[in-house]
């Protein structure tokens, strides 16, 4: 009796050890690399619901075609991807095809992840295998017809999907290639930082040339650091600072980028951040943008100047210089002077804190003005900011303010 009990216990222990091995068979170095890449790709941001378990999905990604809830990518066998093989995971990342053959919607940025190497995708798989497994059934997409027909995705892919791992450019430095890989692949920067066409594809403007993020209604800056580029006045260190701490001498991260910095880029190595900046420095110059000079904004400018002096100059300075490390400059700030004006309007209306990061634990904030300024006053002051000092962007109209006053702020 006693002997059989011991034997049973031993068998049980052995079984547990074996099961443990089955779980933790992945090479620890690969797991760590996968963790880093999953951070660089900010997977958790979309694949975690507000207040939900990490990677268990459920956050709804808004698109003009309807909401797409992210799936559970923990290794729960029944509701997550625990039954998936490495090959199946690679197929999803590299080709946007799910395990059951479903063509995935490009709200999942496989159009960028296709640039990742097989070894890196395998590392992400190994890392996800170590994440606490959560049983949470996936929700159905809330797409309106005809976008709800998955079969349309095959035509979309034919038009807009260019499959293939990143091919290093031997004429460029190792840092440049690393930066290009991070930006184009796991970082999937182009998925926000370019305009999308009416079918949600990112092919209608140059890569990383900036664009309005659909549904969220924030303008993601042009990332060129060359003449005419959105980051023309950034130095390499400013890029590194912004990605690492959420603030820099030239600008502060806000809106969706604040979340990207907080969840993702602040954890990247200094070498990788410098590599990203090296790559961005090679983006081509951009043509001079429309300056809206055909509109007479002189009356609005005069009113705006007064509002600026009363409400803004105490922090941003009468010349829009800001305060180093505290308040961003408004002069030569691409977020202020982006083509649409939405960023300036929404920041004036809602204010907000810079993100808390390890490099900026107690950020300063800007007060909201929605409760203080009328639509006309917001139009006037944003027009003034966008057309003063070195800025020369189109004026803001009262209807633009009206529209964005009612935009949900999250």
């Amino acid at each position: 009796m006693r002997a059989s009990n011991i034997a049973f216990r031993a068998a049980l222990a052995l079984g547990m050890v074996l099961a443990g091995f089955a779980v933790a068979h992945a090479d620890p170095a690969s797991v760590e690399r996968g963790r880093y890449l999953a951070t660089a790709g900010d997977c958790a941001s979309c694949h975690t619901a507000l207040n939900g378990a990490p990677f268990a999905g459920g956050r709804v990604v808004g698109t003009p075609f309807g909401g797409i809830p992210t799936p559970n990518i923990t290794f729960d066998r029944a509701t997550g991807i625990g039954a998936w093989t490495k090959d199946e995971f690679y197929l999803a990342m590299h080709e946007g095809v799910s395990r059951d053959g479903t063509l995935l919607y490009p709200a999942f940025p496989f159009t960028s992840y296709t640039r990742m190497t097989r070894a890196d995708v395998d590392a992400v798989y190994d890392f996800l295998g170590t994440v606490a497994r959560v049983s949470r059934k996936n929700d159905e997409p809330q797409l309106s017809w005809p976008y709800s027909m998955r079969s349309l995705m095959s035509a979309w892919r034919l038009l807009y999907f260019d499959k293939g791992e990143y091919v290093p450019d031997p004429s460029k430095s190792a840092a440049w290639n690393r930066g290009a890989y991070l930006v184009q692949g796991p970082g999937h920067c182009n998925d926000c930082h370019t305009a999308r066409n009416s079918l949600g594809a990112t092919v209608s403007s140059p890569r990383l040339a900036g664009g309005l993020i659909p549904v969220q209604d924030w303008y993601a800056s042009d990332l060129s650091m060359a003449k005419g580029g959105g980051l023309a006045n950034f130095r390499q260190q400013d890029i590194v600072d912004l990605l690492k701490t959420g603030r820099s001498a030239r600008g502060t991260a806000f809106g969706p980028m604040a979340e990207v910095v907080q969840m993702s880029t602040q954890y990247l190595s200094d070498d990788d951040l410098a590599a990203i900046a090296t790559y961005l420095q090679s983006l081509p110059p951009r043509p001079a943008p429309d300056q809206g000079n055909d509109i007479d904004a002189s009356a609005s400018m005069a009113r705006g100047q007064k509002i600026y002096a009363d409400s803004c100059a105490d922090c941003h300075g009468v010349s829009g210089t800001g305060v180093a490390g505290v308040y961003p400059p408004l002069d030569a700030n691409s977020s202020v002077a982006e083509p649409v004006g939405v960023n300036a309007i929404r920041i004036v209306l809602s204010g907000g804190f810079a993100p808390v990061t390890a490099g900026n634990r107690r950020p300063y904030s800007m007060p909201p003005f929605a409760q203080k300024l009328s639509d006309q006053e917001v139009a006037d002051v944003t027009t003034y900011i966008r057309r003063s000092w070195g800025n020369n962007a189109p004026p803001v109209q009262i209807d633009d303010v009206r529209k964005y006053r009612s935009t949900p702020t999250y």
């Binding site: 979340e259 300075g317 210089t321 505290v326 808390v356 950020p363 904030s365 909201p368 999250y410």
Partner: protein
């Protein structure tokens, strides 16, 4: 010689313009390195000392227990309590900073504003007084004073005072538990209580609370000074 001087002068001029370009702009504002300056986003609506506004949207924060304020900020951030501008504002902040900000407002001691007192019929006033001071046993509703303190000044560290708040804010908060736009950690005792109140009850209780005079000592009661009739997930750790 004069040529040399000229060159030297030019060089000096170049150097000094170069230096000027790198020096801090002379008109850059001086910004105090204080928490108060950092949280301009909060004080713009709630007041420099968290004294609150006259309307229903920006309630007084001054002197509320720190634990309560931290939890509200976290609830906005985590999607339990809904108010767009608050959710947007606190989303990029972590617990440490929220605790510090809550501490700032909890430590403020400024006079209470007076708000317009809503007109009540005698019956409404009686019902309001009953709910606030006695509760309604038959419907499973405890008195507000049972948890929020005998003078409704709240209890350290987690229970808010109900004094000095305008009628519109109070009735909106009670209503929001019904519409699921305000929730608290489970068990959500306020949700349970509100589910037992009628619209008329909410209105009467809010009106009575709004007309309640500010007591001489408006500070929250000491921790552990009430025995709560319900278990609340938002009280204690």
């Amino acid at each position: 010689m004069s040529r040399l001087l000229c060159c030297a002068a030019m060089l000096l001029a170049l150097l000094s313009t170069g230096m000027a370009a790198h020096a801090a702009p002379t008109d850059a504002p001086k910004v105090p390195d204080t928490l108060k300056q950092r949280i301009a986003s909060c004080t713009a609506c709630h007041g420099e000392s968290g004294e609150g506004s006259d309307n229903a949207f920006f309630p007084r924060l001054a002197g509320k227990p720190q634990g309560y304020l931290v939890r509200q900020l976290q609830d906005f951030r985590n999607g339990l309590r809904h108010y767009a501008i608050m959710e947007y504002t606190v989303r990029p902040l972590d617990d440490d900073y929220l605790r510090e900000i809550a501490g700032y407002f909890a430590a403020q001691d400024v006079p209470y504003r007076t708000h317009p007192v809503p007109s009540m019929t005698a019956a409404q006033k009686a019902r309001g007084e009953q709910l606030v001071t006695q509760g309604d046993k038959a419907r499973g509703v405890p008195a507000c004073t049972a948890c929020h303190g005998s003078n409704l000044t709240g209890v350290q560290p987690d229970i808010p005072g109900l004094i000095g708040l305008p009628y519109d804010y109070l009735s909106a908060q009670l209503g929001s538990w019904r519409t699921d736009t305000r929730r608290a950690a489970a068990p959500d005792c306020m949700a349970t209580i509100v589910s037992h109140l009628s619209d008329a009850d909410i209105s009467a209780a809010a009106a009575y609370l709004a007309s309640h005079p500010i007591p001489d000592d408006p500070r929250p009661q000491a921790a552990g000074s009430v025995t709560m009739p319900l278990r609340c997930g938002s009280v204690g750790s």
